[in-house]
């Protein structure tokens, strides 16, 4: 399992890899550098034990401290509460977005088998134009392929708009998104 710091209120440039000891022990190092060796000889080298084997060179010190603070912060809130909020806000957003004429949600329209992000498209308004209107209203979304072009082909759409929710997203934020989408439709005279 791997995760990144900047998607859990932490800094960019750092993340974590979790794996079973026997698997990680069998894996060769992917980088050479300081702190990852045990002995070095002209004929061959041996590697430091886990996890140092995979942490060659100067570590991202400030990032590690920041990620630690993020972990403490989330643990203090409680990951079960974070998950419950994410599920509730996603359910609310699915309901509100589902009421917009001409809007198609990609993937499940119920809050099952999905995380706190919803991709959608609006008939007649390109995602880049949708996001431009939302941006002018202070609503930040992502437009394009979201690193998943084959998935867009699967759904038969050229690209999509994606709204992401997290522990700080409120129902008022979702309402602002829905209002913005209504404005985008009006601006481009659709529906």
């Amino acid at each position: 399992m791997a995760f990144t710091g900047h998607k859990m209120v932490g800094p960019t440039g750092i993340g974590a890899l979790w794996g079973r000891t026997e698997v990680l022990t069998a894996l060769p190092p992917f980088l050479g550098g300081g702190s990852m060796i045990e002995t070095v000889a002209m004929a061959g080298s041996t590697w430091a034990p886990l996890p140092a084997k995979f942490e060659a060179g100067t570590p991202p010190i400030a990032e590690a401290i920041g990620l630690g603070a993020a972990v403490d912060y989330l643990a203090a809130i409680g990951m079960d509460r974070v998950a419950a909020h994410e599920q509730a806000i996603t359910a609310y957003a699915l309901e509100r977005l589902g009421d917009i004429d001409g809007l198609t949600i990609l993937g499940p329209s119920e809050p099952v088998d999905r995380g706190g992000a919803i991709s959608f498209e609006i008939d007649g308004v390109h995602p880049h134009d949708v996001s431009q209107v939302l941006d002018s209203l202070g609503v930040a979304v992502r437009a394009g392929h979201h690193c998943a072009k084959p998935a867009h082909r699967r759904f038969g759409v050229q690209s999509s708009t994606r709204a992401s929710f997290y522990l700080y997203t409120t129902t008022a934020d979702v309402d602002a998104l829905v209002d913005g989408l209504d404005q985008a439709k009006r601006f481009f005279q659709v529906g």
Binding site: H126, P127, H128, D129, Q132, V133, D135, S136, A143, G144, H145, K149, H152, Q158, S159, F187, F188, Q189
Partner: protein
């Protein structure tokens, strides 16, 4: 950011009813250009007769800016000698890369002046240039082929 300065009425008109759209015969060169950051795509054909742009036909998928600018391109360049069309092309590129500081010349660019506001939105400049870069590429190929 001022939406009205980005989305001029002329742009929205061209977006809703693009001019010269569709792929036609005959043509000497066809190119396919994409904007990987947003997924916009255009297939564009150029037909030259005696050094003049006789037809520009295209199949485009993308945002209002890229669709409208390709429509304006076809309007402006069809019927022009290649040399003159290249000059118009240069003028349009200069406008788009001018960060909103370039005063557009309506005598040269006609409806193209509506894109002056797009130059203030760095993320959208590539949208406006997609069809124009495709046209230059296709025309260069057609001219080289004609020279044999």
């Amino acid at each position: 950011m001022d939406l009205q300065s980005l989305y001029q009425a002329i742009i929205l008109d061209h977006y809703r009813a693009p001019h010269h759209a569709g792929l036609r015969e005959p043509y000497e060169a066809e190119v396919h250009h994409v904007n990987p950051t947003c997924g916009d795509e255009v297939t564009l054909r150029v037909h030259l007769v005696d050094g003049t742009v006789s037809d520009i036909s295209y199949d485009a998928e993308g945002c209002s800016i890229s669709q409208a600018s390709t429509s304006v391109l076809a309007d402006l360049l069809i019927g022009k000698p290649v040399d003159e069309a290249m000059t118009v092309h240069e003028t349009f590129v200069e406008l788009m890369q001018g960060r909103g500081q370039v005063e557009p010349d309506e005598d040269v660019l006609e409806d193209g002046v509506a894109f002056a506001g797009v130059a203030k939105f760095p993320a959208r400049v590539k949208c406006a240039l997609l069809g124009w870069m495709a046209w230059k590429d296709a025309t260069a190929q057609a001219v080289v082929d004609a020279r044999g």
